[in-house]
């Protein structure tokens, strides 16, 4: 029989390993499209780890927003740009020390954050969502649709204004542009396009003497 805690631990290590390998792939793969795909995998595995930590909403948002929208956009951009592989790789060794320093600083920050959280468990208090017996997505959703309903709706209104503004600033009505009219194309009958003409079969005329001979007396 599988122990639940054991299974969770195994899952965590598996996801973490995939995350680390994929993250390494992002910075080492030669093909930039592969690097972007690798970043997608990193995000996805991170989302899985967050799910294990019971932060469902963050996980869903990461997948829907970053993987679903931002990374696909990235992929398009990378595919459209004509990047020369050699130029990109030129500075790898040169920038390596700086990269390592940044990475070390980030590591330190994360360790500090984890330490602070562990030490201040009492100050931060227990997770209110867990106390109410809800998942944190349900908790956020409840807050958003009750206490913060009006701001939520106003935010939707702001997005509407964004769409209207985008249309009014970019839509150009050009005259003299030829469009296909799909409805007319579909509705067309064979009768409108092809006219079958009935006529008598052409009878080849009787061979005539050459005109040159006729005119000469």
């Amino acid at each position: 029989m599988i122990d639940t805690n054991m299974f969770q631990l195994v899952c965590f290590y598996a996801f973490a390993a995939v995350t680390v390998v994929a993250a390494l792939g992002v910075i080492t793969l030669r093909n930039s499209v592969h690097a972007v795909l690798s970043l997608v995998l990193t995000f996805f595995s991170t989302a899985c780890i967050w799910l294990l930590a019971e932060a469902e909403f963050l996980a869903i948002a990461l997948i829907v927003v970053y993987v679903g929208a931002v990374m696909v956009l990235f992929l398009f951009v990378v595919m459209m740009l004509d990047i020369k592989q050699e130029q990109v790789r030129e500075g790898f060794i040169k920038y390596l020390p700086v990269g390592i320093i940044v990475a070390l600083i980030m590591l330190g920050e994360m360790l500090a954050l984890i330490g602070v959280r562990a030490m201040h468990q009492a100050v931060m208090g227990a997770d209110p969502a867990a106390a109410a017996g809800m998942s944190n997505t349900a908790w956020l959703g409840t807050a958003l649709y009750t206490q913060f309903l009006l701001p939520f709706e106003v935010a939707a209104l702001i997005l509407t204004v964004g769409v209207v503004a985008a249309v009014v600033l970019t839509l150009r009505q050009r005259t003299g542009v030829r469009h296909q009219q799909a409805s007319q194309q579909v509705r067309v009958n064979a009768r409108d396009r092809v006219r079958v003409v009935k006529m008598a079969a052409e009878v080849p005329a009787a061979p005539q003497p050459a005109p040159g001979k006729e005119t000469t007396p």
């Binding site: 206490q147 009006l150 701001p151 106003v154 509407t160 204004v161 209207v164 503004a165």
Partner: protein, 479 residues
């Protein structure tokens, strides 16, 4: 949970949102030649909005959506005048837009969305609502400024407005986050209580400073005024008139909600800050306006100085000061609408009437237009017995009662300096010879002429009968 009663309290806002969406749809299915119908429908929509605001006025302050939205006397009066000045904008803007091929339905829907933003902002009961209302207003304004997208000046103005506006929003949000950190609440009513008990007064004042920077940007008070002249000059005059009128009421509403409702107990801190902003605005606005040759730019600097006067009233930090500031904001919104209204009425296709020299000898060509412009200039300058005079008088009085005699004296000195450039416009119209080979005449459109004349004459009438309006302004701050 929100109830039906909550929706009833927000009825004017809900109605306007629905109407704006319907107008948007209608515009999409409308032929260009039917568009004047949209113009009249938009005006009708706003008038019905005023009716709903006035009819649904509650006898005391009510809140909706867990205190997110406050409907009280202050918000009512601001909403009525914001809607009214937008109606004026729609009247004046039509011929101008038609002449320049800018007569699109989006002008109307975006303006109505901006007005909804104003209404939500002045009714905000929560820092989040203040921010969202403000964003709705400014986002619509950015798009309106860029409406004439083929114009270089217009695009430049829009970019400047957008970048500086985003910066100001960032400052405001940063200040709000500090205030939240110090008090643990976003609700303005609870913030008022928590502000006195906080254990971190320095953090609170730090947040307050950033919030005042945000308010200064939105009011256009010096030293946060850089965007005003370029935006006023660059945007189509039909948009400048909107930006110059109704949003000033919103800026007052925002300052009142944040400073008086939210952080009223910190008034000894923000009084001094506002006094500094006021003096700088009065100085920069009035002195730089003297050298302007562009009429729209001159009015932009005049706006900066007027926001200075508005701040002089707010410095009082009591009901009297708020009432006088509110009165000032209303008088400025109506006068500014009239000022740009005259410019719009004199403009025609291929002629913007933006330069002061364009007005040379206006009296000989169109005596009525010259007379209207003269009244507007006198009102802006604060010449008795016009509307603008009493606004200035009341804010000075409020400042003196709060012990800021020096501020009132500075204000009076700069009012006299300001008189110079307003009178210069009058002199150009009445005593200069018209430029040969040019033509300036008043718009043929009857509705524009009628509304403009009524608007300007209202300045004269309200100059004599300002009592009831000021009484209304006072009554909303009592209790």
């Amino acid at each position: 949970m929100p109830t039906f009663n909550d929706i009833l309290i927000l009825l004017p806002e809900f109605y306007l949102v629905a109407a704006a969406c319907l107008l948007l749809l209608l515009d999409a299915f409308m032929k260009p030649e039917q568009r004047p119908l949209l113009h009249w429908l938009s005006i009708a929509v706003l008038l019905v909005g005023i009716y709903l605001v006035v009819v649904g006025q509650p006898s005391q302050t009510v809140t909706a959506f867990n205190g997110m939205f406050i409907r009280d006397g202050v918000s009512e009066i601001l909403k009525v005048f914001a809607l009214l000045s937008t109606v004026l904008v729609f009247f004046y803007a039509k011929p101008y837009l038609q002449d320049r091929k800018l007569f699109v339905g989006e002008f109307y829907t975006l303006t109505i969305f901006a007005v909804i933003g104003i209404m939500l902002l002045v009714s905000a009961g929560n820092l989040i609502m203040v921010y969202l209302g403000l964003e709705l207003l400014t986002l619509s304004s950015y798009a309106l400024v860029a409406l004439n997208r083929d114009s270089r000046l217009s695009s430049e103005a829009a970019i400047k407005y957008f970048v500086l506006g985003a910066l100001a929003s960032g400052m405001l949000l940063y200040g709000m986050s500090m205030v939240y950190g110090a008090t643990g609440t976003l609700d303005l009513a609870r913030l008022h209580m928590a502000a006195t008990q906080t254990g971190m007064p320095h953090l609170l004042v730090f947040g307050l400073i950033f919030m005042i920077v945000g308010i200064g940007f939105k009011l256009g008070a010096a030293p946060f005024h850089m965007w005003i002249p370029d935006v006023y000059q660059g945007s189509p005059t039909a948009v400048t008139i909107f930006i110059g009128s109704a949003p000033k009421l919103a800026a007052f509403g925002m300052a009142y909600r944040l400073l008086a409702s939210g952080l009223g107990d910190l008034s000894q801190h923000w009084q001094i800050m506002l006094a500094c902003l006021a003096v700088l605005s009065l100085a920069i606005g009035n002195l730089v306006a003297i050298v302007q040759s562009n009429l729209k730019r001159l009015l932009a600097y005049s706006t900066i100085s007027h926001m200075g006067y508005l701040l002089v009233g707010l410095v009082n930090a009591g009901p009297e000061g708020y009432a006088s500031s509110l009165f000032y904001a209303i008088s400025y919104a109506i006068t500014s609408a009239a000022a740009f209204g005259v410019i719009l009425a004199l403009a025609r296709a291929g002629f913007e009437c933006e330069e002061i020299d364009d007005l040379k000898g206006l009296n000989q060509r169109s005596p009525w237009a010259a007379f209207l412009m003269m009244l507007v200039m006198f009102s802006l300058a604060g010449v008795p017995p016009l509307f603008g005079f009493f606004g200035k008088l009341l804010v000075f009085q409020a400042a003196i009662h709060a012990g800021f005699l020096w501020l009132a004296i500075v204000g009076a000195v700069f009012a006299i300096i300001g008189l110079y450039y307003y009178l210069r416009v009058v002199k150009v119209m009445y005593f200069d010879k018209p430029v040969e080979g040019t033509e300036v005449y008043l718009q043929k459109d009857v509705s524009v002429r009628l509304v403009l004349s009524l608007n300007v004459l209202a300045l004269l009438v309200l100059g004599f009968v300002w009592g009831p309006l000021f009484g209304w302004c006072q009554s909303v701050f009592i209790g």
